[in-house]
């Protein structure tokens, strides 16, 4: 049985390897198979990474592009499986990764709300109960019967965000979504995340916005080249990151 002290998310010596140039056709695959060699040199997006995130904790993952942040999120979301090691996750996950991924352009806003919520694991009854809240949060009262292909990109993401935050998650995965929408909507999102913090929702926040990480996260994790370089107090980890970046490139 799980207890309250169980971490919400735990990485145990997780490595994730990718094939960079994959053989997509049999013609590429069969010679590689017969030759007994790999199709392409492997690339490690994560290497022997261990950390755990307690329930109710907000953890920021920072690092340069290609450091393995998004791979870590995908492993938590259960979309990818680690090459070695274990990823343990407890709770209902709502990924705020590229919002509206499940939207069908020809379906109306209303239909897409039900569709997307269902993808996130909500029952129809749950969606019906929260429908007005979802629409109100997205501020799209007049557009629910419009196909989403007529939406602006801001409306699209607002609706996607609204569905995801109303899916009653235990764990929220946030990947740079606060950059969407106008300033009032961004503030509304931040407020919603603070509410989640207060309610004890676990959050993993991947961002280049270091100030937000410092203000908003309880802890931070620094990844570079697939290795875990530092974990702990956000201000200290952000400083480590800044030092690392400035030591790599001469000051402009």
């Amino acid at each position: 049985m799980q207890t309250a002290s169980d971490p919400a998310i735990e990485f145990r010596q997780v490595s994730k390897r990718f094939q960079l140039h994959e053989g997509r056709t049999l013609r590429e695959f069969i010679p590689a198979l017969l030759g007994g060699r790999g199709w392409s040199p492997p690339f490690y997006a994560l290497r022997d990474v261990s950390f755990s995130i307690a329930r109710g904790e907000t953890v920021g993952i920072i690092g340069r592009n290609g450091s393995g942040k998004s791979t870590a999120l995908k492993l938590i979301a259960g979309v990818m499986a680690p090459t070695s090691g274990e990823v343990l996750v407890t709770g209902r996950i709502s990924p705020l990764i590229e919002l509206g991924a499940g939207f069908h352009p020809d379906l109306t806003g209303r239909e897409n709300v039900f569709m997307n919520a269902s993808i996130l694991g909500m029952s129809t009854r749950e969606v019906k109960a929260k429908f007005d809240e979802i629409v109100a949060f997205a501020e799209l009262w007049d557009f629910m019967d419009t196909p989403v292909k007529r939406y602006s990109s801001g409306m699209y993401t607002r609706l996607g965000f609204s569905v995801a935050v109303h899916s009653d998650p235990d764990i929220l995965l946030v990947d740079e979504v606060l950059a969407v929408g106008d300033t009032p909507f961004q503030e509304k999102c931040l407020q919603k995340m603070r509410d989640f913090q207060a309610q004890g929702v676990t959050m993993v926040y991947v961002s280049h916005g270091l100030d937000v990480v410092k203000q908003f996260c309880h802890r931070a994790v620094l990844l570079d080249g697939g290795h875990l370089l530092a974990a702990g107090d956000p201000a200290a980890v952000v400083q480590t990151y800044l030092d690392m970046v400035s030591s790599m490139q001469p000051t402009a």
Partner: protein, 280 residues
């Protein structure tokens, strides 16, 4: 509140033993709401921005039936054993169109949902199964034409027609069992979709859709014993047109093939599933 299957996800290593398969099926059943939404989504996308819209679900089988009847009955004088040829062809054609369009569509189902598969986890078999269910709706439109044909030729089916739903369930399980590994393999080798297209064309001619089994020389009839579609289509004809039971021996064979195909197919699909997001 019902939690997702991943509520306590021990390492995402997909077990594929007998017990695990049962758990996977249970998880799949738990997400039937999503299956419904996915099916609707497919349906809405299928004939979008076409002038005739869902009328295409009528036009397609009807036009095939007319041309096949003209070529093989009027021009080539194929025998259909006392049953009007258009009716004979259509009873075989409808399940064939269901099978072939479902297989082709399901093969592409996972690859065609890349944006979802790389973002959110849900049992991936929902995608090919939704593609198959979409084709069930097309089949239902075709049934309306079938009823029309029966009225036109004044063919009154007997009580053996109650076998049709049973046959169709088995046929659908077979279709799903074949689709699942193909949908997974299609992510690894894009050749699969072309292979499926080619195989379906050849399969059509090796299945007694446009000709009766009796027109084939005895020594080649073994083809119909090992061809599940032949078993199903012959059985549909017997129960709808010939007032006959589906043939217990053949039917048991059909059951066995469908069940075996599904178990193996589902097993292979679940084995490959953890790698989908890497490959897509």
């Amino acid at each position: 509140m019902a939690h997702l299957q991943i509520a306590k996800r021990q390492p995402l290593r997909h077990g594929v033993g007998a017990v695990d398969l049962a758990a996977h099926l249970l998880a799949f059943w738990g997400r039937r709401g999503l299956l419904w939404h996915m099916t609707v989504r497919h349906l809405r996308g299928q004939y979008k921005q076409s002038f005739l819209g869902y009328a295409w679900a009528f036009v397609n089988p009807l036009s095939q039936m007319l041309i096949l009847s003209f070529v093989f009955s009027t021009l080539l004088r194929f025998e259909s054993g006392g049953v009007p040829f258009p009716l004979f062809v259509f009873v075989g054609l409808l399940p064939w169109i269901f099978f072939s369009s479902a297989l082709a569509s399901a093969t592409d189902a996972v690859a065609g949902s890349a944006s979802l598969v790389t973002k959110v986890y849900f049992p991936r078999e929902i995608l090919p199964v939704a593609a198959i269910f979409t084709k069930v709706v097309d089949l239902a439109f075709g049934l309306v034409i079938l009823v029309g044909l029966m009225l036109y030729y004044e063919h009154v089916p007997t009580e053996t027609i109650v076998w049709v739903p049973v046959l169709f369930m088995v046929h659908m399980i077979f279709t799903a069992g074949l689709s699942l590994p193909l949908a997974a393999l299609n992510l690894y080798f894009h050749d699969v979709r072309y292979l499926v297209g080619m195989a379906l064309t050849m399969w059509f001619y090796l299945t007694p859709v446009i000709y009766p089994e009796s027109a084939v020389p005895e020594r080649y009839r073994f083809i119909f014993d090992v061809n599940p579609n032949a078993i199903f289509i012959n059985a549909y004809r017997r129960v709808i047109l010939l007032d006959d039971s589906p043939g217990v021996e053949r039917l048991l064979l059909g059951f066995a093939i469908a069940g075996g195909t599904f178990l193996i197919g589902y097993y292979l699909f679940k084995r490959m599933e953890p790698g989908f997001a890497d490959r897509i």
